[in-house]
Symmetry: C2
C-alpha cells in the first residue's frame, strides 16, 4: 500500500517580507517504514514566529532551513504504523514533523501525550513549546514575587497569553500589550489580565504608563522596537527582562532601542533565551501547565487554519499578528 505525502518546502528565501511564493508544495510516496521506525499522520501543525528566522541565512539562534527541504515545525499526530515496540498505532505523539501530512521517526524527538483531558491542539500551545517558553521566561528569568508588575508584549499570542496568566497565578499584576482593541479585550476579559494596552493606539505610551502605576518589575519581550522602548521606560530598579522574541524585526526591519540607559540606571537584568536549550525545564513545566489547563485555571485559545494548503497564508498572517492565541493548521 502506498500513501501519498504532501509537504511544503522552502523554495526561495525572502527578500524583505516573507511571501507565499517562498514556499512550494511537493508530493511524494511515503517510503516503506524501516525497522524500529513509526509513521505518524499529522493532525495539527504548529506555526511559530521562529520559523521566519530559519527562512533567512542571517545568523539566528536556529540554523537556517535548507532550500528544498520540508519546512520545520512542531506537530501533533497519531501513530498509524509502527515497527517500534514503544509505539502502538493510535498513540498520540508530539514531534517535529514539519509542514507535511505524514512523517516517519525512529522515536527520537517524539513524546506520547494523553489527549483525554487536554485537547490535542493544546499540546502545541499552552501545554507545549509556547507554554514552556512562557513558563521559562517568567520563572527562570523573571523570578516573580507577589505584588510585582509583569508586562508582556504580544499578549494575545501563544506565549504571551500563557505568560501573563502564569504571572497572575504568581501574584503579579499582569499587563498585556497587544495590537488593536479586540485583542486587548480578549486579553483582559477572557484571559484575566489586569489591563491590556493597544500598541497601535496614538495614546500607547500614556496608556502603558497608566496601566503600570507602580512601574514594571518584569518585562517579557516578544516584539522589540518602540514597544520594547516604551516598556523599558517604565522599568523599576532591579527589573528583569526576558527577551523571547523580536517579531517587529523579523522581516529585516531596523528595530533600534533608544532607552538603553534604563539598563544601567535601573540595573536591569536582560536575558535572551530559546526554550529548546533548557530541556530540564520542560519536565517541570509541562505537568504544571497540563494540570492548570485541566483545572480550568489556564485559559487557552487557538486559531486553526484548515488543511495543509493553508499553511503559508496562515504563517504570513501570524507574522502580521492576525491570529489570536496559538496559530495551528489542522491537517487531519
Amino acid at each position: 500500500m502506498s500513501r501519498r505525502n504532501r509537504a511544503w518546502v522552502l523554495a526561495i528565501r525572502p527578500q524583505g517580507p516573507a511571501e507565499v511564493s517562498n514556499f512550494r508544495l511537493v508530493e511524494s510516496d511515503v517510503p516503506p517504514l524501516p525497522e524500529g521506525w513509526v509513521l505518524v499522520e499529522v493532525h495539527y501543525l504548529s506555526l511559530d514566529p521562529y520559523m521566519r528566522g530559519r527562512m533567512a541565512t542571517a545568523k539566528s539562534y536556529a540554523p537556517s532551513q535548507e532550500l528544498g527541504q520540508v519546512m520545520v515545525g512542531g506537530t501533533l499526530g497519531a501513530v498509524i504504523e509502527s515497527r517500534n515496540p514503544r509505539y502502538q498505532p493510535g498513540d498520540i505523539v508530539v514531534g517535529r514533523g514539519g509542514w507535511q501530512l505524514f512523517h516517519a521517526s525512529d522515536g527520537s524527538g517524539l513524546s506520547k501525550v494523553d489527549a483525554r483531558v487536554v485537547p490535542e491542539p493544546v499540546f502545541l500551545g499552552a501545554v507545549g513549546m509556547p507554554g514552556v517558553t512562557a513558563w521559562y521566561g517568567l520563572h527562570r528569568i523573571g523570578k516573580p514575587r507577589s505584588g510585582e508588575t509583569f508586562v508582556v508584549s504580544a499578549a494575545s499570542g501563544a506565549v504571551g497569553s500563557v505568560a501573563g496568566q502564569l504571572a497572575k497565578l504568581a501574584g503579579c499584576r499582569a499587563v498585556g500589550i497587544a495590537g488593536g482593541p479586540m485583542k486587548c479585550e480578549h486579553v483582559v476579559k477572557d484571559l484575566g489580565f489586569d489591563a491590556c494596552v493597544d500598541y497601535k493606539s496614538d495614546a500607547f505610551v500614556e496608556a502603558l504608563r497608566s496601566a503600570t502605576p507602580d512601574g514594571i518589575d518584569i518585562l517579557f519581550e516578544n516584539v522589540g522596537g518602540r514597544v520594547f522602548d516604551a516598556a523599558l521606560e517604565r522599568m523599576n530598579a532591579f527589573g528583569r527582562v526576558a527577551v523571547c522574541g523580536l517579531i517587529a524585526g523579523y522581516d529585516g526591519q531596523e528595530i533600534p532601542l533608544r532607552n538603553v540607559r534604563s539598563i544601567l540606571t535601573n540595573r536591569l537584568l536582560m536575558q535572551g533565551f530559546i526554550v529548546s536549550e533548557h530541556m530540564e525545564s520542560w519536565a517541570e513545566a509541562l505537568p504544571e501547565l497540563g494540570a492548570l489547563v485541566a483545572q480550568g485555571r489556564l485559559k487557552h485559545h487557538e486559531t486553526i487554519a484548515q488543511g495543509l494548503d493553508s499553511a503559508p497564508r496562515a504563517f504570513l498572517g501570524l507574522l502580521r499578528g492576525e491570529n489570536l492565541g496559538k496559530q495551528l493548521v489542522k491537517l487531519a
Copy 2:
C-alpha cells in the same frame, strides 16, 4: 585655631554638555569638631563619570546632587584632628569627602588604609571603587572561563584598565577599545592587553573583528552607542554583557542600540550594575586587588591634576576622555 575650607558646589545644572560655569568655589571656616568626629585633610580627590549623572535631575542610579551643596566624590586623606577613639591623627583614610580641602566625619563611611605598600592615589583607583567595579563586573556578571575573549570599552580608563588585566589573569584573551593610538598603545604595551582597537578610527569595526577572531564571550561596556553596537555584533552564544557605564550619552546624547537582535540570537545575559550596591564584594575584591598591585601583577596609572582649583576642568576632561587611567586631583 580656625582653618579655612574651600569647596566646589554645584551652582547650575548643565543644559547639554557640562561646563566650568556649572560649579562655584566657596570658602568657609572649618567648624569646631563635635565629640566622636574626626577631621580629614584631603590628599586626593577622585573624579568619576557617575558624577555627571548626579549633576542632572534625570532619573539615574544615583540621586541628584542638590544645588549649592558640595560636589560629592571619593577622597583619600589624613586624619588631622580626632575626637573619635578609633582614629588617630596621621591615619590615612578613604571616604566620600567631596570636592573640598577638609571634611569632617563621625567615622561612618571612612576606611583606614595602609599606604606603605600601595601608594595613596591607588586607593581611589585600582584598589578602590574603580577596581572593585572592574572586579564585580568581570567576576559576578562576566564569569570568565579560561580561553574566552573579553572586551572592554574605555579600556585605558580607571575601570577598563583593571577589568582587562583581571580578565587576562583569569585566562581570557583581553581586547580593549579606546580613543586614539596613544591610549591603545598604553593598553597593549603598558597594561598587557592582547589587543586594543581605536574607536575613533574609520576602520574601527573591521579592526574589532580582526582583534576578536573567536568572537566575544564577555563584554564590559562603559561607553554605549556605536561602540556598544560594534561589540554586540561580535558576541558569541551565551555571552555576558556587564553594563557599567554609558558615557557616550552622559550629556544627554541619543545613544540608540541597533544590534538588539544579538541579545536574542546569541541568548545574551546583559546586566547593569552599580558597585556600591554590592558591598559584600568589596571585602573580597579589595585584598585581592591590593595584593596584585603590591606584587606588580596589576598595573595602575593615574592622571593627577594639581590643586582644588583644577577640579572642574579635570572633570570635564575626564568626560571628554582626556585622562589616562584614574583621574585624580591632588589637594595636599
